[in-house]
């Protein structure tokens, strides 16, 4: 009984922490971008502008929740909920520290891949249901982009699976006791980072939104809390990809001296900052460049990495 109670408590703690982190990241991103671009960023509301998040949330909550008359109403309402649900469900298999995990699946990594492949529906359906031409262009772009980048996202992780011999994220961490997988899987790490950026629609791969050409693309027509869901969903996506990079390539919660949860948080935080730095420093590619980069560079690299890893394991074992 007490066991299931702790389980429920852990689930709720994870849920609330994630939502709070998703909110705080908005502030963090604006401050860090400002720092790198030699500006101040939000610094008026509260200490260091921390309460800016609260102010933004109040603004989003009280905005008019408008559904355009030319939109397909049920799909329009459903689309923003999909991305948040799917991302939060992926977190269920992430091991934050020994014992702090919502559910222990022996195919956790596959579960993550399945959930992340469903996230694209949110963007595509939002673009389609809005019924405006910018939105539908954004939706079209995102469906092609995510299909292409998912293909090698799965492949880039298989090297890790081969080294650990399991899809279970706990066992993957345990297998890194005598050394992080980044030592053998640098190519896999780079590919996963690229694919993860594309999956979360972050700059430089934010072609589905592309403010300067598509006027925010798939969420042009969204306002109020529905827009807020897309916003939070994006930050949750960054957190998810960062924590998976930590788990798969950088030993998860393993580390000396400090408690496991602190190690996990530190490593994840580092990669979140890396994502923000990427946004601050890289320009957006053209659409055809994006597609040919995915299919002609990344996919062959992922397959080659897989082949090499297999050969190496065979040679050793």
């Amino acid at each position: 009984m007490s066991n299931s109670l702790t389980h429920i408590l852990v689930s709720f703690a994870v849920l609330f922490t994630l939502l709070a982190v998703g909110g705080m990241l908005i502030w963090l991103e604006r401050r860090l971008l400002a720092l790198w671009q030699d500006r101040y960023g939000p610094n008026r509301v509260g200490p260091f502008g921390l309460l800016q998040v609260v102010a933004d949330m109040i603004k989003v909550l009280f905005k008019e929740d408008w559904v355009p008359p030319f939109a397909n109403k049920p799909v329009f309402i459903m689309a923003p909920a999909i991305i948040v649900t799917v991302t939060l469900m992926s977190f269920a298999v992430v091991p934050f520290a020994p014992g702090i995990q919502v559910v222990e699946l022996n195919m956790g990594l596959l579960f993550f891949l399945a959930m992340s492949s469903l996230g694209v529906y949110s963007v595509v359906l939002a673009g389609w249901a809005s019924g405006s031409k910018y939105s539908i262009l954004g939706g079209l772009r995102s469906s092609a982009q995510m299909l292409s980048y998912e293909a090698f996202m799965g492949l880039s992780l298989m090297g890790v699976v081969m080294l650990a011999g399991s899809f279970d994220l706990n066992r993957i961490i345990e297998a890194q006791r005598d050394g992080w997988f980044i030592r053998y899987q640098f190519v896999g790490f780079m590919l996963f980072l690229i694919a993860g950026t594309a999956e979360t629609n972050r700059l430089p791969f934010d072609l589905p939104e592309a403010e300067s050409e598509l006027v925010a693309g798939f969420h042009s027509e969204y306002s109020g809390l529905k827009f807020g869901l897309f916003f939070v969903g994006e930050y949750l996506g960054i957190t998810l990809i960062s924590s998976l990079i930590t788990v798969l390539f950088f030993g998860g919660w393993l580390g000396p001296w400090l408690p496991p949860l602190v190690w996990f948080t530190l490593k994840t935080f580092f990669f979140i900052c890396l994502f923000i730095l990427l946004r601050a420093s890289l320009p957006r590619p053209r659409y055809d460049q994006l597609m040919s980069f995915g299919w002609k560079v990344c996919l062959p690299l992922a397959v080659g990495n897989l082949l090499l890893t297999g050969a190496w394991i065979l040679m050793k074992g």
Binding site: N72, V75, M107, L110, F111, L113, A114, S117, L118, V120, Y121, V124, L125, G127, W128, I136, G139, L140, S143, A144, M146, L147, E150, G154, F167
Partner: protein, 165 residues
Amino acid sequence: MINQIVFLYFAAVIVLSAVLTITRRNPVHSVLFMLLLFFHIAGVFVLLNAEFLAAVQLIVYAGAILILYLFVVMLLNVDRESKSDRANRFWPWIVAFGLVIFAEIGLLVARGSFPLEGGQIMNKTGIKELGIDLYTKYLVPFEIASVILLVGLVGAVMLAKKKND
């Protein structure tokens, strides 16, 4: 008992969303009901201890094939509510024909005896066994499947390419 209730739920949603898939006027709505259907089929696979296939069902069917359908529907812009008929003029006959087929299979199932009624849980459910079988016993079909995928890839690119020269 609880398993049976879960199965009945899955079956009801599968049949219902299948009917909705083939009756909607707007292809995008059909795709959405198809998505619901794939989810519940994955659930049936989990009931049958085939967790790997459930994941593959979601990754490949829901995450790739169905997105491809959605992409083409959006690309061709055929989702406008058109006033022309959904079905051809034979449809009442064909529905009756379908009911007859289903009744016949139902009769066969009711009459025939399934010796495996007891239903044993399969011991080896692991991905490992699946992989070992795939790469030893079924190596040749596996390689042929990869060739089929390559043919599909090249064929699709060649067909859809605009002829510039």
